[in-house]
């Protein structure tokens, strides 16, 4: 099995993460359909009740805490579907995970390099 974080700060989506995040990702996958999105928008709590999220996962979803969702086994390709329902630019999601504000993230991760 791939060891987590052999590459620093890089969570490979291997068995432990896929296990931990299964319900969370399944909840997000449910937003691929118009019905799922409508249910989420109409009553987020009721929609979340359909899935066996841990209390931590539920709190992270409610808070749109992207770093925490990933820490708890969320994979960005699934949880991104939350950002389709509650619009959040991908670069803000990146900045949140990097622990930076957006401008710092753009400068140090994306900008500096391109200018370099």
């Amino acid at each position: 099995m791939t060891s987590p974080d052999r590459i620093p700060d890089t969570p490979l989506f291997d068995r432990p993460r896929a296990n931990a995040g299964y319900a969370l990702n399944k909840m997000a996958m449910g937003l691929s359909s118009p019905e799922g999105r409508a249910a989420f928008l109409a009553d987020e709590d009721a929609y979340l009740d359909r899935f066996a999220l841990t209390p931590d996962q539920r709190a992270a979803v409610k808070a749109r805490d992207w770093a925490e969702m990933v820490r708890l086994g969320g994979n960005l390709f699934y949880i991104l579907k939350i950002s389709a329902v509650d619009p959040t630019p991908i670069r803000e999601i990146g900045a949140a995970q990097a622990g930076m504000d957006l401008q710092e993230f753009l400068d140090t991760r994306l900008g500096k390099v391109t200018n370099g």
Partner: protein, 280 residues
């Protein structure tokens, strides 16, 4: 026998699709990116391929974690754009090259590949974006398609060497296909990017430029690298670049680079393309 017209490697970043949908093709931010594809678009349009074999990964749209195919092959007559959360995008349905796809299915299984054979499949930006980058946004696509999907999300993902071997198999399948159709093979994904974890936003333009310079002339190093090497050098999602090895693996040892282009960042991703032709 069928003919490998050319090999094309390209990014398939979803922000590219969003930019097109929002009419930002010629905006300051995006024009340099899109302009870089024009010479390759012109070359492909002039050479009229019949079939595009598109190697890409699904991004949690057509497959979920309940059942993850390491390799999947489409044999359908038609593929619709997937609903990625915003509803299906307004691009034409893709018409499948079902005859060649079944031929490839036979060759893959005989050649000891174990694909998931898909007769019903929606395709996400991993296939849509490369098609738009090469063919624009026509009323109907000018080529039939064969989708080959590679798991790059859940570990274990296939090894770079396996991707190369799949390219060799595809080469044989083209050579043994009894029509005179012209086939464009498109390896997609990358270039460097990372969407997850505290290293999110990692890009590596230097490594990307080297990849674009060497994937045609000198791919040996990339075939020998481990999956973890890819993650380290190109980011966790940059490891999608292994799919370009299918395209490269189906070509001759000696190829000519017809066009190349690099741009960073497209959203959070190093982006670009290369168009390769066998020396003759």
């Amino acid at each position: 026998m069928a003919e490998l017209l050319a090999g094309l490697g390209t990014s398939h970043v979803p922000s590219i699709a969003a930019a097109l949908d929002k009419g930002l093709r010629d905006s300051d931010e995006w024009k340099p990116f899109f302009d870089g594809y024009v010479p390759a678009q012109d070359w492909v349009a002039g050479h009229k391929p019949d079939i595009a074999v598109v190697i890409f990964n699904d991004h949690g749209n057509s497959f979920f974690l309940d059942r993850v195919p390491t390799l999947a092959l489409g044999v359908a007559d038609e593929y619709r754009p997937a609903d990625e959360g915003w509803g299906p995008r307004p691009v034409p349905n893709f018409i499948g090259a079902a005859d060649f796809a079944w031929h490839l299915a036979d060759r893959m299984v005989e050649g000891h590949f174990d694909p998931l054979i898909c007769r019903e499949l929606d395709v996400d930006h991993g296939m849509q974006v490369p098609m738009e980058l090469v063919f624009g946004r026509p009323d109907a696509w000018p080529v039939k398609v064969v989708p080959i999907l590679v798991n790059t999300i859940q570990y274990p993902i296939p090894t770079p060497q396996r991707m190369w071997d799949l390219g060799r198999l595809l080469r044989e399948a083209i050579a043994s296909y009894p029509t005179d159709e012209k086939i464009l093979v498109m390896g997609t994904g990358g270039l460097s990017h990372q969407l997850q974890g505290a290293r999110a936003g990692f890009i590596n333009p230097q490594a990307d430029r080297e990849w674009i310079a060497k994937i045609g002339a000198d791919p040996a190093r990339y075939r020998a690298m481990s999956r973890e090497d890819y993650v380290e050098e190109f980011g966790s999602e940059g490891a999608e670049l292994i799919m370009w090895l299918v395209m490269r693996g189906c070509m001759d040892a000696d190829v000519r680079t017809l066009h190349q282009h690099y741009f960073a960042p497209a959203s959070m991703t190093g982006a670009g393309m290369v168009l390769l032709e066998n020396m003759r």
